[in-house]
Subunit: 249 residues, 2 copies
């Protein structure tokens, strides 16, 4: 491990390294990316729909979400992001942001000039492949979310979200899938699952009543992971955690 864990870019090196094996030169090149570090309060906009940002951004600490507002005023939360996630890789290529990215909690964000990202991607193929891979996994998660809100009932949707968040936290080394802090209001959960906050409340209470979870404020304790995964129709393949680029056949 040549990456200094104090370095704001270290989580990025870690993440990219999971996708594609990086040699020390690759790692150094990533760590050499120019960036501006900024601390934002909860609810701040990191990217606004319609912006033409000159930077991509990396989530260095805290949690964020992607979001879109539709014509009738409804809001759909599209994805959740945590430390090490590149919340806006697309801005290195696409010109106009097609959705909003907002801070869920207080966050630290590293803004990296798009030109630097592009140069790195094509200058060091392993890094480029890892970034592309990251984009593809994002797409896979988005498909799962489409299926989640499109074809699952309320209980299943909620349980699925709880599973995904737990697994991803654990994978990022940020917590335990069976005991974590979910930094979202029930209204935000509603916007993530395509429900209303009232119904989210009833659904969560039912999971508690059935002894599948045991919540306390925002703290989620999963009493029976297997049952939660079953109720949530959850299977982690879509997160592509195992099959790195170079995985043996």
């Amino acid at each position: 491990m040549s990456s200094n864990s104090q370095d704001p870019l270290a989580p990025l090196v870690r993440k990219l390294g999971l996708w594609s094996p990086l040699d020390s030169q690759d790692e150094e090149a990533v760590l050499a990316l120019p960036y501006t570090l900024r601390t934002l309060t909860a609810h701040s906009y990191i990217v606004r729909e319609g912006d033409n940002p000159e930077s991509s951004c990396l989530l260095v600490s805290g949690f964020a979400y992607r979001q879109k507002v539709v014509g009738n005023g409804g809001r759909q939360i599209l994805a959740l992001h945590m430390k090490g996630d590149i919340v806006d890789l697309q801005n290195s290529l696409l010109r106009t942001a097609d959705h909003n990215v907002q801070a869920l909690t207080k966050v630290e964000v590293a803004f990296i000039p798009r030109e630097a990202v592009k140069k790195l991607a094509f200058g060091r193929p392993s890094v480029g492949m890892a970034m592309w891979y990251d984009t593809l996994v994002d797409g896979s998660v988005q498909r799962e979310w489409t299926a989640n809100v499109g074809r699952r009932d309320a209980t299943t949707r909620m349980a699925h979200l709880l599973c995904e968040f737990g697994i991803r936290l654990e994978d990022a080394g940020l917590g335990d899938r069976c005991d974590y802090e979910l930094p979202m209001t029930q209204e935000q959960l509603a916007d993530a699952t395509g429900l209303t906050s009232v119904h989210v409340n009833r659904t969560l209470m039912a999971l508690d009543r059935d002894k599948i979870t045991d919540r306390n404020k925002r703290a989620v304790r999963v009493v029976d992971w297997n049952r939660l995964a079953e109720v949530g129709d959850f299977s982690s393949e879509y997160l592509h955690l195992q099959d790195e680029v170079a995985a043996p056949r």
Copy 2:
């Protein structure tokens, strides 16, 4: 135009060229990709969830869709694809397919070995950028679909789908947004919008009754595009049709 329009890969050159300007060497490199052309009947699987395909595939003619089956037996159609779309770019990097790709009509598909795709992507940065761009646009469309099924009512969802399909057909030079053939059953439309076929039927009939569309079998004639777009809460930004990589600031 050095690309021969008879060449199965020509639509790919066209599409990538829209995203990122390609010089003649780039175009030749794309056309030089090795591939196997196959004709498949409607309903055939092009990729199956869980497969570890050794090829990416390009839709040379016909229509296809991505699809996922959830625990309760429900099916969610995740995306629609037409001539020139790379229906499986992700398989060049991801190992395991996370969803199914199926032929909607009779299709011709070119299977391109993943190694060749990777080599091209990193050997010719303009092409690689165009491919990455394509991936990003796919992601954007997927987000819109998530919002569509998550936060819009039945009428809006259907109208939105009709708008998207029309615009994309037109953009691909395959038809007129106000008069086209939608090669889907109402059950498939239901799976795409997260509704039931019965409700899709009532919704479509209401659009006809309101003189917004005028359908005849699978033929869709849009009587009033502006009203359809309004009812469908449709705005084409998420398709990123205008803002190519090299677009002037």
